[in-house]
C-alpha cells in the first residue's frame, strides 16, 4: 500500500472537523462518480476518494493516520536515506522506521477489512465483475483485440492487502455499439464456490474527431463551397472504410442530409450533412463576381422573416 496524503486527496485542511470531512466527501463523490462524471480520470479519483474517506471519516482511524502518517516514507526514499546514513555512520533502525511499519500495518488492516466486506457473497457462485472499456470508433468498425487490465483486490501470503493486476484479452466484435456489453463467462471472481463469476464489460466508444455515432449510423459534416452547392459537384468524402465519391446535386442547401448506404457501422449508413462555407481569404476578383451576382440574382434570403432585401 502506497502512502497517500488523504487530506490532500480531499482538498482538506488537517484541522477539518468530522462534519466538514463528510460534506466534502459527499460533494466530491458526486463530482467524480464514474457513472455521473465526465472527468477523464473520474474512476481513479473516485477510488482514491473512497480510500481517503474510509480512514478520515472514522475519528479513531483518522487519529492513527495522523499519528503514523508523518513517519511513512516511500520505500525508495527510505532506502536512499538508509544508504546515506550507513555511509555516515552505522545504520540503526530508528523510531521513525518502527512508526512507519506500524502505519503500514494499520493501513493494510483497514483495507483488508473493507475488502472482506465488499466481497461478502451469499451465493455459491463467485462474484461477477462489471467493468467498462473505452474503444475507438475504428476499433468497432474493424473489430479488434484489446487488453483489459483489472485491479483485483487480494490478500497475499503475508496477509497484506494488495491489488493484483489481471490482464484479460478481449475480442471486440465488429460493429459493437456504444454502451453495448460483452460477457466473458467464468472470468469473474473465483469466490468460495466452485463456479467462478462472469466478467461483464460495458463498451464505450470514444468521441471521434470527424464522425458522430448515432446507433449504427455515422454522421459527418461535409463543407462545400457556394459554387459546388449551386452548380452541383462530385466531391471526395472520408468514410471509415476510406474515401468515396459523392455526387452533390444542384442547388444543395446548407444543412441538408445525404445518405451513403452501408457506410456506417455494420448495419448502418453514413449520413452527410452539407455545410456551405466561404473562403476565409478575401479576393478582389471574387468580390467583383459576387457584386455582379448580387445584381443579377435579386435574391432575398430573408424573405420568410418578413424583411426586405437591402439592395432591392
Amino acid at each position: 500500500m502506497e502512502y497517500k496524503d488523504y487530506y490532500k486527496v480531499m482538498g482538506l485542511d488537517k484541522n477539518a472537523d468530522q462534519d466538514e470531512i463528510k460534506r466534502v466527501y459527499r460533494k466530491l463523490a458526486r463530482k467524480y462518480h464514474p457513472d455521473v462524471s465526465k472527468e477523464s480520470n473520474a474512476e481513479h479519483k473516485f477510488k482514491e476518494l473512497g480510500e481517503a474517506y474510509e480512514v478520515l471519516k472514522d475519528p479513531e482511524k483518522r487519529a492513527k493516520y495522523d499519528q503514523y502518517g508523518q513517519y511513512w516514507q516511500h520505500p525508495e526514499q527510505q532506502y536512499q536515506q538508509q544508504q546515506q546514513q550507513s555511509s555516515n555512520r552505522h545504520y540503526q533502525p530508528g523510531a521513525d522506521d518502527d512508526q512507519a511499519a506500524a502505519f503500514e500495518d494499520f493501513i493494510n488492516q483497514t483495507f483488508r477489512q473493507r475488502y472482506r466486506q465488499d466481497n461478502a457473497s451469499y451465493y455459491d457462485k463467485g462474484q461477477d465483475i462489471h467493468a467498462k472499456m473505452t474503444i475507438s470508433l475504428e476499433d468497432s468498425f474493424n473489430g479488434a483485440e484489446k487488453s483489459l487490465q483489472l485491479r483485483i483486490p487480494e490478500v497475499d501470503a503475508y496477509g497484506q492487502m494488495d491489488y493484483a493486476l489481471r490482464t484479460i484479452k478481449v475480442k471486440i466484435p465488429k460493429g459493437i455499439g456504444d454502451t453495448q456489453q460483452i460477457r466473458l463467462k467464468g472470468q469473474g471472481n473465483k469466490g468460495s464456490g466452485n463456479q467462478p463469476g462472469d466478467l461483464y464489460i460495458e463498451i464505450n466508444i470514444a468521441p471521434h474527431p470527424l464522425f458522430r455515432l448515432d446507433k449504427k449510423d455515422l454522421w459527418l459534416d461535409l463543407p462545400i463551397s457556394p459554387w459546388e452547392a449551386t452548380l452541383g459537384a462530385t466531391v471526395e468524402v472520408p468514410t471509415l472504410a476510406g474515401v468515396v465519391k459523392l455526387k452533390i446535386p444542384k442547388l444543395s442547401q446548407s444543412g441538408s442530409h445525404m445518405r451513403l448506404k452501408g457506410k456506417g457501422l455494420p448495419g448502418g449508413d453514413q449520413m452527410v450533412t452539407l455545410q456551405i462555407v466561404i473562403p476565409k481569404i478575401e479576393n478582389e476578383q471574387v468580390n467583383k463576381l459576387y457584386e455582379e451576382m448580387a445584381s443579377i440574382a435579386h435574391f432575398n434570403p430573408r424573405e420568410k422573416l418578413g424583411v426586405r432585401n437591402d439592395k432591392v
Binding site: R26, A29, R30, H33, P34, D35, V36, F46, G50, S121, Y122, Y123, K125, Q127, D128, H130, K169, V170, K171, P173, I176, T179, Q180, Q181, I182, R183, L184, K185, G186, Q187, G197, D198, Y200, E202, P207, H208, P209, L210, R212, D214, D221
Partner: protein
C-alpha cells in the same frame, strides 16, 4: 483459440441471474422495475428477460445508491437527466 469460447455480446439475463450478478435480492430488482427505471422483456415461458441496456441502468442505479446514498426515485431522475445530457452532448459540433 479457446479464450473466446464463452464470449457473448447479445445477452439476456433472467431475474435470478441479474440479482445474483449484482449480489442483491430479486426484490431489489423488482423495486427498480416498479420505479420505472427498466423494463423487462417477457419471453414465451413468461419469464423476465433483461437486456444490455437494462443491465446498464440497474448497475448505475445500484452504484448511485451504494456510493452516493441516492434512493430509487433519485436514481431514476439522475438516469433520465444523464440520458438527456448524453443526447445533447451528441448534438454539439465537433472540434
Amino acid at each position: 483459440m479457446t479464450k473466446y469460447e464463452h464470449e457473448e455480446t447479445w445477452i439476456y439475463l433472467s431475474l435470478q441471474e441479474v440479482s445474483c450478478s449484482f449480489g442483491v435480492t430479486t426484490e431489489t430488482i423488482l423495486d427498480i422495475i416498479d420505479e420505472g427505471i427498466v423494463t423487462a422483456h417477457i419471453n414465451e415461458q413468461q419469464e423476465m428477460q433483461f437486456d444490455a441496456e437494462a443491465l446498464r441502468s440497474i448497475r448505475t442505479t445500484l452504484r448511485l445508491h451504494q456510493d452516493l446514498g441516492v434512493n430509487m426515485a433519485g436514481a431514476a431522475l439522475a438516469l433520465e437527466l444523464l440520458g438527456e445530457i448524453e443526447r445533447l452532448r451528441a448534438l454539439l459540433p465537433r472540434g
